[in-house]
Symmetry: C2
Subunit: 404 residues, 2 copies
């Protein structure tokens, strides 16, 4: 499997930057071009784009990729060294792509089916900015990103029926609460999360490691199409046609974490890519939830590891996920209540007195006090309260417990 | 059900304080007598015993229980008020017991089958001292307490097969590690914990809410006898013959928590007595563990609640319980390892280079560099490392990935 960007030898047709809401066409073009040149998560590329702007950075790299590195004037020796290494890294691919023939405003490096979304666009997910220099230069999008709050549900491909069931339930609950469910489109938990959101009539976003024209795995192609058709999207940071390599899978996880206001791991083995998503979320300060499962299930071992390490909050239903993802106070999960019991709200002393009552033979207050180990005065006061609460009866010269 | 102490109308025979290792017979006798007079957890009684000594406190309460309260000279007005209320509380039972007829050195308030263990005895569990004034005045013991480290395993009576299985597994692991398993002798998780310890040839301690001569529930009587016969014990803080009342069950939980160097809740419903044991442990600064389970199981809801609240550490096997209970460092659970993978220990850049190799057609280093998005120099260095690790081969003028 090779890891080349998807622009090589392709006819590059279709619109890029034609809507240009606040972002110049040249800048948009250059960000798309950068997504073909630098691997996902390349922080030197990110820093260069931030410093020079994408178009200027592109002109710079085209001029320097041949080997003559003319550093930006402001560069420190340390930055210069990093930049030299980066140019050495970008050079082989730049030559292969033939970037000398590319120029801002020239043929856009995309295909008709995908849009390029860049920082400054109304639908650029602001959550990605937390990635700093590691943020993608652009997103390649099929479908709609929208502006609704997003929750990431991730987990193992080798999921159990239990895990998939919980993923569906959580996604249904999140979709009903108006949240977009983001996941990675893999088999197992990812697919269950997407399916649950769709089943509830909600929207879901599939983040892929390769090009958005390549549904990975192929068996989930239909699910991905359904996500797009239902108002959601499929999103990648490498150009259409690019292959999903191992390192791109790992980098993809940081996108999922950064898109979600919280990340929930439903099932994950002791070593699992889903844990990398959780750690990306933690690194950018986003809350992480983990769904517990049987300790006898290896598919839950990674979730238990997160709980044990204190890295994740234990979540057991959609309300708890919403609490995790939302502002505290507005989305607090309703406090669960067990069934009400007859002695709820009765103080400990009165409970002790109640314990000392029989249900048949009436007992004098003094006997009750002795049995309960309380003073006669306390017993008499407690019996009065219990009588008011319908929990004790005074008859035949003594006290009995009322049947409850 | 009445809550009277078990001394009334009984012949009180058998030895109390005959071994007197460092604790005077009179003091031992008086602590046993106090256990009949004051309800478990009575902090005024505890404070009085600490201040005056048990024998002197006994003489004082016998002299004052009739109603005339001569306060100790040192008492503050606030303490005096508490003491007056306590005497009013103790009075009815003192009159019923006829304590005027009791005196230190007189007939011991016990029966042959149980020993009285008091603070200062070699087998007094030092963990109980953390309860302060709420510590029991004595323990009534059948069997042996020993000096081994103790772990509390508790949980729901209405346990599932999953929960009972986990309780057995944990108890077996703890017993094999030389730990004593303490629990409450109830059906469900408690019984499974006791059974597991016994099955592994270990020792277990049953803490009962009533007298140690009353196995509660009756169906577990044989289990309790087996615990005693196998070098363990059944322990209570009220005299033999006493009934297990509701408030005594709740107070009993504090003993379980204080006896264990850690408390682990295996299964517990959203409201469960096992949670009260966990909260007692937290109150005295002991670590609490909770075993996760399926979120679809109501029997695990209380465990998940403890995890969610951050009150408990997630524990999934005996090694993790030992780590929780033991000194950090000496008992740290072995870091679990997934199966070793071929690329373990390979740095991310070399992994990317490895990803870019095919298994059949050899590729020139320059092609690999381009595909991986790394510099030629980095690719060549990485290929050299991969070759050394047996992960890549150089043949026919190019590089391939070795089958792993």
């Amino acid at each position: 499997m090779t890891a080349e960007g998807g622009l090589t030898g392709r006819t590059t047709t279709g619109p890029v930057g034609t809507d240009g809401r606040g972002v110049g066409d040249e800048e948009r073009w250059a960000r798309a071009a950068w997504s073909a040149l630098a691997e996902p998560g390349d922080e030197v590329a990110g820093a260069l784009l931030a410093q020079l702007g994408a178009a200027e950075a592109w002109r710079w790299v085209v001029a320097n990729a041949g080997g003559r590195t003319a550093l930006p004037q402001s560069a420190s020796p340390r930055a210069a060294a990093r930049l030299s290494r980066a140019v050495a890294r970008w050079g082989p691919r730049a030559r292969r792509l033939g970037v000398e023939g590319w120029s801002p405003g020239g043929p856009p490096p995309t295909r008709a089916a995908a849009r390029v979304v860049v920082p400054g666009d109304p639908d650029w997910p602001s959550g990605l900015d937390a990635l700093g220099a590691g943020a993608p230069s652009c997103l390649w999008v099929r479908g709609e990103l929208g502006a609704a709050a997003v929750v990431a549900l991730v987990g193992a491909r080798a999921a159990t029926a239990y895990g998939e069931g919980v993923a569906v339930d959580l996604a249904v609950g999140l979709a009903r609460a108006g949240r977009v469910v983001v996941s990675g489109g893999a088999y197992g938990i990812d697919a269950a999360a997407h399916r649950g959101a769709l089943a509830a009539g909600g929207r879901t976003v599939v983040v892929v490691a390769g090009g958005v024209d390549r549904a990975y795995p192929a068996g989930n192609a239909r699910l991905v199409e359904e996500a797009v058709a239902s108002g959601g999207a499929v999103v990648g940071e490498v150009p259409p046609g690019s292959l999903p390599t191992r390192s791109r899978f790992l980098q993809r996880n940081r996108l999922i974490a950064a898109l979600g206001s919280a990340t929930v791991v439903v099932e994950a083995a002791w070593r699992s890519g889903a844990l990398s998503t959780a750690h990306h979320a933690l690194r950018i300060g986003r809350p992480v939830g983990a769904v517990p499962g049987p300790v006898t299930s290896m598919a839950s071992a990674g979730c238990h590891r997160l709980l044990r390490d204190g890295a994740a909050v234990c979540v057991t239903d959609a309300a708890e996920v919403l609490e995790l993802a939302g502002a505290i106070g507005t989305d607090a999960a309703p406090e669960r209540e067990g069934p009400a019991r007859a002695l709820d709200g009765v103080d400990p002393l009165a409970r002790r007195v109640h314990d000392a009552l029989g249900t048949r033979a009436p007992r004098p207050a003094e006997t009750v006090a002795r049995a309960a180990g309380v003073s006669s005065a306390d017993a008499i006061a407690a019996l009065g309260l219990l009588e008011l609460a319908g929990l004790a009866r005074n008859e035949g010269g003594g006290w009995t417990a009322s049947p409850v």
